[in-house]
Symmetry: C2
Subunit: 331 residues, 2 copies
Amino acid sequence: MGITTKEIARICEVSRTTVDRALKGKGRISPVTKEKILSVANERGYRPDLLARSLITGKTMHIGVCVFDIRNYYFAEMLNSIENRAYEKGYFVNINLQEEDREKEIRIIDGMVDHRVDGIILCPVNKGAEFEKYLLSIPVPVVVIGNYISGRIPFVGINEKQAAYDAVDTLIKKSYSRIVFVCPPLAFGNSKNIYSHEQRLSGFQERLALEKNIDSAVIADMDYINSLNSLKNELSYGDRKTALFCSGDVYALNILKYFHKSGVGVPRDIGIMGFDNIHILEFVFPQLSTVSNAVEQVAVTAVDSLIKRMNGEEPENKIILKHRVLLGSTI
Amino acid sequence: MGITTKEIARICEVSRTTVDRALKGKGRISPVTKEKILSVANERGYRPDLLARSLITGKTMHIGVCVFDIRNYYFAEMLNSIENRAYEKGYFVNINLQEEDREKEIRIIDGMVDHRVDGIILCPVNKGAEFEKYLLSIPVPVVVIGNYISGRIPFVGINEKQAAYDAVDTLIKKSYSRIVFVCPPLAFGNSKNIYSHEQRLSGFQERLALEKNIDSAVIADMDYINSLNSLKNELSYGDRKTALFCSGDVYALNILKYFHKSGVGVPRDIGIMGFDNIHILEFVFPQLSTVSNAVEQVAVTAVDSLIKRMNGEEPENKIILKHRVLLGSTI
DNA sequence: TTGAAAGCGCTAACAG
DNA sequence: CTGTTAGCGCTTTCAA
């Protein structure tokens, strides 16, 4: 690449150590030599090789991030906040997308470790004891967001279950008497980490268990377009005021779109509630009722917690931030 | 971190070179020693230190990316495609956000170079001869997307001017007789690279120059909310069928939102056309008419072109991909 | 089939 | 105030 300290040393007829001192501005050094060294360095466009430095210091000042994908607005927002915070703290960010591929996730993590990132932020698709063991074996700190792994793996997030509970509570207070939980296929729970959705379902069920006179159902295949058709059945519950509680705003948006096309009125014919509060809701009408998952705050907190760990501190292993039910005009 | 080749060598009582040969699987080596080395490596969880390797090979297998921010859906989509393609080709991606801060952009680029990324993809906020010189001085290949710099800096994008020209042409064919170009403050053109918007304006003007009987205007301060109010004036051109041509979908969406609140009908009272074809349009009604800027294809092409350059090839310096005017229901 | 030696560019401990 | 030495973990001749 450019000029090295060795060459500067040769040109200035001093040792590399002296060059280093001039460059770093610390340690005793005569103003004259310092001046000379700096001017040569500057003139020749000296730039430190951070790779070489890292090899010695053991620090690369890189944070590795691995999430599902960033077409998903939730992750885009998350990543934006992670990058901002990391930059503020002097760290670079390596971004990798696993696309819900369990093996790819492992390859990516291994790759980041091999590249000697100082720490890792992960929204995992893997789960279970074996993966926990794997994460514990990794020689750099890891912080998990989004999908919980276990009490032994540092986590930052919201209380998904309570959030769903609160959302359902809101629907009940709005006098809905039939509430349908809409989420991705739960069958994948065996192979993929869909902790968040499972928890939300659980909060949904828990709140409904307190009611005698409220109908409920679960539609757990929102990954398939034809399931949209089944939603129409919900409308035939004419006597019951029905709401769809979607475990993710994108599901809710797809449903809104479908209803819009089909001439179904929201909330006239049916209520809809989402989850995540992704930014694009700003541009969608009617304004979707949803649950804020504090994604920016989660991201920032994850970075901070990770950096603490990288510095040998031991912050709380499980950090739960506040969620909020947001009333739009779809319920 | 973990075990090193040196230690494996010691344990197996061979030289580091031999260990290397076993690990790499090339060069002549006796099956017995190879087996032994591999089993020790495996048992002790050997992982290569890619940092050390990079120091020697001069390759980090990292691509550095610097864009505005990724709250912006356009960049989120771009980055997603960049990451996918890079991963396919065996590269890692370093992502950095300059947030329209010219100096931050330079710091970021310097940082990426110091970290020895193998190449850089940039959507620049800087512009001008000095910046061009700076980019040329960088010891790794750079490919620019989004905002053109000069003929000497490799670029991948669409023909912004022609795209705007075509969009206006479409509006004219729809018999609009007043067309208003809406864009961010052009005054920033002195300090920021807003090449795309400038080009679109130019295409707008060029097409209109061919018409005698079409009114036109430019509203160039869409960064300020109160400029939304001025849009109402456009409605009073009762005799003229008016369309707003927005240099960016997000402007169009904000306007749609504003009109929606104000009870203005689109396209009944006024037509709207956007630019970019960001994915979220899928969820917005009425369906926005817009121009596809082929962002995924630009991203993929940029990665491919960059990798060619990193391999010493010299692909075309300016790659122009096809845009497309998309008819929604807002004109 | 194996090993010795040199070196990537930098840092760090210690000595002068 | 300055220099020497050693070494991070790996690759790469060259020699045995």
